[in-house]
């Protein structure tokens, strides 16, 4: 019985890898339709897996299915889009879809922080850089993927192995009784007066992880100084690269900020 479910896990990853391989941009015949069919099949397989009693007793509900489907779908679209702006916008969608999952896991503070920092700050930086450096129209290097077969094989094989093990291991731990049920633990923490999620995160952050917190602050400062130094540097425009690549407006000198 267990073997059947493990085979289904690996099969889902195989279907997902095929979908991604067919969806990646190529210069030849478009294979988007085959990719979409394989992708829907993989999504259906994943849903069967998540709704099965093998993988979860009660963890997956309608919110999980909806958010996870949106997250995976927009992640795939992000990777295969030919325009970097679309990639950035699909990534915002990934974050907005991951946030409800964190809320389902009772990680309220992290969910809000993720939306504010990722969708609000980091992605704005990305969009700014895209606007600063993008040529008009999709360029040749966005329309052809680099060795898609090897990449899909490497990525999905390693992750299928990890997921296949991870899906089985926690059950064994749980059977051994070394782990308490997470719901029960959360309830116990509430009972003990530890407080809300924000309070628990804050307490741990300034007690157990205070050194890491300080180091993170120093890291941010160093990165800020480094970014200023890097972006003020004047570079000579070199012109087009080697190999006769079509480079658009190559060699145009752009004044520093």
């Amino acid at each position: 019985m267990t073997e059947m479910w493990v085979i289904l896990i690996y099969g889902t990853f195989v279907l997902g890898g095929l979908a991604l391989y067919f969806l990646l941009p190529t210069t030849g015949r478009s294979t988007k339709m085959a990719g979409a069919i394989f992708g829907l099949a993989a999504l259906a397989g994943a849903m069967v897996l998540c709704s099965s009693r093998f993988l979860s007793a009660s963890g997956a509900n309608a919110f999980f299915y909806l958010s996870a489907s949106v997250a995976i779908g927009s992640a795939v679209l992000m990777v295969v889009s030919e325009k970097p702006v679309y990639s950035a916008l699909y990534f915002v969608l990934v974050i907005l879809a991951v946030t409800p999952l964190l809320l389902l896991q009772h990680a309220e503070f992290l969910a809000i922080a993720l939306v504010i920092i990722y969708a609000g700050a980091i992605l704005v930086t990305y969009v700014f850089v895209i606007m600063l450096s993008q040529q008009s129209g999709p360029s040749i290097y966005d329309r052809r993927a680099r060795s898609p077969l090897v990449a899909v094989l490497a990525g999905f094989t390693s992750m299928a192995l990890v997921a296949g093990q991870m899906a089985v291991l926690p059950q064994e731990w749980a059977i051994q009784g070394t782990l308490v049920s997470s719901e029960a633990a959360a309830d116990a923490a509430e009972m003990a007066g530890v407080g809300s999620n924000i309070e628990m995160v804050g307490r741990a952050m300034v007690s157990r992880y205070v050194v890491a917190l300080e180091i993170a602050g120093v890291l941010l400062l160093v990165a800020m100084i480094g970014a200023i130094v890097v972006s003020r540097k004047k570079v000579p425009a070199e012109g087009p690269g080697l190999g006769g690549l079509p480079l658009g407006k190559a060699g145009r000198e752009v004044p520093p900020f």
């Binding site: 990853f13 991604l20 990646l24 009693r53 993988l55 979860s56 963890g59 999980f64 997250a71 995976i72 992000m78 970097p84 990639s87 950035a88 990934v94 991951v98 999952l101 964190l102 992290l110 922080a113 993720l114 990722y118 980091i122 930086t125 990305y126 450096s133 360029s139 290097y141 966005d142 052809r144 993927a145 898609p148 990449a151 990525g155 992750m159 997921a163 991870m166 899906a167 926690p170 059950q171 997470s182 719901e183 999620n197 995160v201 952050m205 941010l220 990165a223 970014a227 890097v230 972006s231 540097k233 425009a237 012109g239 087009p240 690269g241 080697l242 190999g243 690549l245 480079l247 190559a250």
Partner: protein
């Protein structure tokens, strides 16, 4: 029976998709976006694991991961702008000077 296996599954899928994007795309900006996608997979996994153990440590690790992502975005995008000013293109392969 455990509750977190679907989340681990989702995290692995997000990580795999990001990894494939990192390896296949040639646009420098999309390459860095793919690393952010891999971070998302890790965040989902960290939170799920922390929940399995009934602790908030996973969420704190994820918060530090946000710091690293912000630092990486700031520095890497500065470097990307610098590289673009030098070559006039975002193609990662334009920086391979030895072909063989």
């Amino acid at each position: 029976m455990n509750d977190i296996a679907p989340y681990i599954f989702l995290g692995a899928l997000l990580f795999a998709i990001g990894m494939v994007g990192f390896m296949t795309r040639r646009n420098l900006i999309v390459i860095f976006l793919s690393t952010e996608l891999m971070f998302q997979g890790v965040v989902v996994n960290l939170v799920a694991m922390g929940r399995l153990h009934g602790q908030v440590d996973g969420q704190i690790f994820a918060l530090f991961l946000l710091v690293i992502a912000a630092v990486e975005a700031g520095l890497a995008l500065g470097l990307v702008v610098l590289l673009y000013r030098r070559k006039g293109t975002l193609d990662a392969e334009s920086w391979s000077t030895m072909w063989g």
